[in-house]
């Protein structure tokens, strides 16, 4: 196709225009996302503050790079749109320039790696304090089952082979630690936890992989059959929250909702005292 008088009169203007609109819309909507309510759900846990901070830092850095690169793209497409008779600049390489844009991203990323790594080890590699409030949450298609250790603070032994209609979690009633356990079959209970106190949730699954996700707590951890996973956090706000399943678990995945109630510790204890125990429920 031979070059005509001036190719790309439309494209060389329209494409930069679209990119500029993209940059402006993206920048404005992200900058005012919190204002519009297009933002992270209001925070309700202690460790979440640091996650949110890192999120915002990353958003600012990537946002600036986004604006820079898309604007340069728009600028170059506009500025260098084809003209007959003009010849492009022969500019095959410039090691200094290339080293610059190797080193700068590498430096920024190193900083992010360091801060991310530090936060990760604080959240995930630190064991929960020994006096943390413990609860076990089981995933099951398509609701959550709950077990509290009871007065002795110890979970009784379980065995998947013991699971039956009367004993939905396979609790071994021969284990003395199991007698005072409090459990709720999938879908039937509420998860009550104390505010302002470390809470450790042990996650298990009866069937497929589920994921325990509480958006306001900045908590997400898979529940995997055949093993026990753990997540711990300190709730900072009282109220009712939702547990969502964040790992595809089948047909009813989107309905796998759980209810989590954060209240004062005495109230939790009071509520727990009213519940039936394994000794009451399993013959």
């Amino acid at each position: 196709m031979p070059t005509q008088k001036r190719e790309g009169r439309i494209e060389g203007v329209l494409l930069p225009l679209l990119l500029v609109i993209l940059v402006i819309v993206a920048a404005v909507t992200v900058a005012f996302a919190r204002h519009f309510g297009w933002w992270l759900r209001p925070l309700a846990s202690e460790h979440g503050a640091a996650i949110d901070r890192l999120f915002v830092i990353t958003l600012v850095i990537t946002g600036l790079v986004f604006i820079l690169v898309q604007s340069l793209l728009a600028l170059f497409v506009f500025r260098y749109r084809g003209e007959n008779g003009r010849r492009a600049i022969f500019y095959p390489d410039n090691p200094r320039l290339e080293i610059t844009w190797t080193v700068i991203p590498a430096a920024i990323l190193t900083a992010l790696i360091l801060s991310g790594g530090r936060l990760w080890s604080r959240i995930q590699l630190t064991p929960p304090p020994p006096d943390a409030f413990a609860v076990e949450v089981w995933g099951q298609q398509f609701k959550w089952a709950i077990r509290y250790p009871g007065k002795d603070g110890k979970f009784g032994r379980t065995d998947m082979r013991l699971i039956s209609g009367d004993n939905p979690l396979g609790i071994d009633t021969k284990d003395p630690a199991s007698k005072d356990d409090i459990f709720f079959p999938a879908g039937e209970g509420e998860l009550h936890i104390p505010v302002g106190k470390p809470v450790v949730v042990y996650l298990r699954s009866k069937d497929v992989i589920h994921s325990f996700y509480v958006p306001q707590f900045r908590v997400k951890q898979d529940a995997v059959p055949g093993m026990v996973t753990r997540v711990w956090f300190v709730p900072t706000k009282k109220g009712t929250f939702e547990i969502a399943c964040a790992e595809l678990c089948g047909q009813g995945h989107y309905t796998m909702r759980g209810v989590l109630i954060v209240e004062d510790e005495e109230k939790v204890r009071e509520w727990l005292a009213q519940q039936s125990t394994v000794a009451d429920l399993i013959p």
């Binding site: 879908g187 009813g252 309905t255």
Partner: protein, 251 residues
């Protein structure tokens, strides 16, 4: 033949109504569709003695839509329902050794509804080959999951009330082997007894049941309750006779 079919229709309609509403007393049912139709009737009542099970309360908080149907209040489970006259509801009673014969299943379907995130009825009997119509009055997602040992399992979603599921069973089977559950609402359960004869009933709000149309003979009558197990009695009836028996479950 005409009146027999009509009677079969009427009686199974009555059965379906009785079961789905679960309010009315079980009508005497005269299903005489095949050979060995008789005129004897066994009536009875299921009593309970001892300390009743603590009613298990189901909080439906985990499902917003179910919870809204019950205005946020927990709902008692159907697993142990003690009637005000001290009798037990939801006991499946059936003849263990039915008279030999080929019993034609009624063509009128048994209706199983999902209402208020509960299966209604909670316990029911159905004949092999008899249509089962599964409704979803709630109008949001339920999945009908039948579990059995002799009949093939099925697991079918019912996203709206527009979707009706029709099924038939191939082999006789008794609970606790055969039941329905809903994986979306794991507390939902319905027990089904599948029979190749029409001699079965479920105890209602007054704990009574009636099995009729039996030819003269000696029968083993079994009663099954999901939490309290099984009991059996031997009864001999003559033609045209009505006998009354009592089952007593203790705890």
């Amino acid at each position: 033949m005409q009146w027999r079919t009509t009677m079969a229709l009427v009686s199974s309609l009555a059965l379906a109504l009785g079961l789905s509403c679960a309010q009315k007393k079980q009508e005497p049912k005269v299903v005489k569709t095949g050979a060995a139709a008789g005129t004897a009737t066994i009536k009875g009542v299921v009593k309970f003695q001892g300390t009743p099970l603590k009613p298990r309360m189901i909080s439906m908080k985990q499902d917003k839509k179910c919870d809204a149907l019950h205005k946020g209040k927990p709902v008692a489970s159907d697993e142990f329902v003690l009637n005000s006259n001290g009798t037990l509801k939801w006991v499946l009673v059936y003849v263990k050794n039915p008279p030999k014969g080929n019993y034609k299943p009624p063509s009128k379907p048994v209706v199983l509804d999902q209402k208020g995130c509960h299966y209604t009825p909670h316990v029911f009997g159905i004949m092999v080959g008899q249509p089962l119509e599964i409704l979803n009055s709630d109008g949001f997602l339920h999945n009908v999951h039948f579990i059995g040992k002799k009949n093939p399992q099925f697991n079918q979603a019912q996203p709206t009330s527009a979707v009706k599921i029709r099924k038939q069973f191939k082999s006789p089977e008794l609970p606790p082997d055969s039941y329905f559950k809903c994986d979306v609402h794991p507390w939902m359960k319905a027990w089904v007894g599948i029979f190749d004869h029409p001699f079965f009933a479920v105890s209602g709000d007054d704990g009574s049941f009636t099995i009729s149309g039996l030819p003269a003979g000696t029968y083993e009558i079994e009663a099954w309750h999901e939490k309290l197990g099984k009991q059996t009695q031997k009864v001999t009836v003559k033609a045209g006779e009505t006998k009354t028996i009592t089952f007593t479950f203790k705890r």
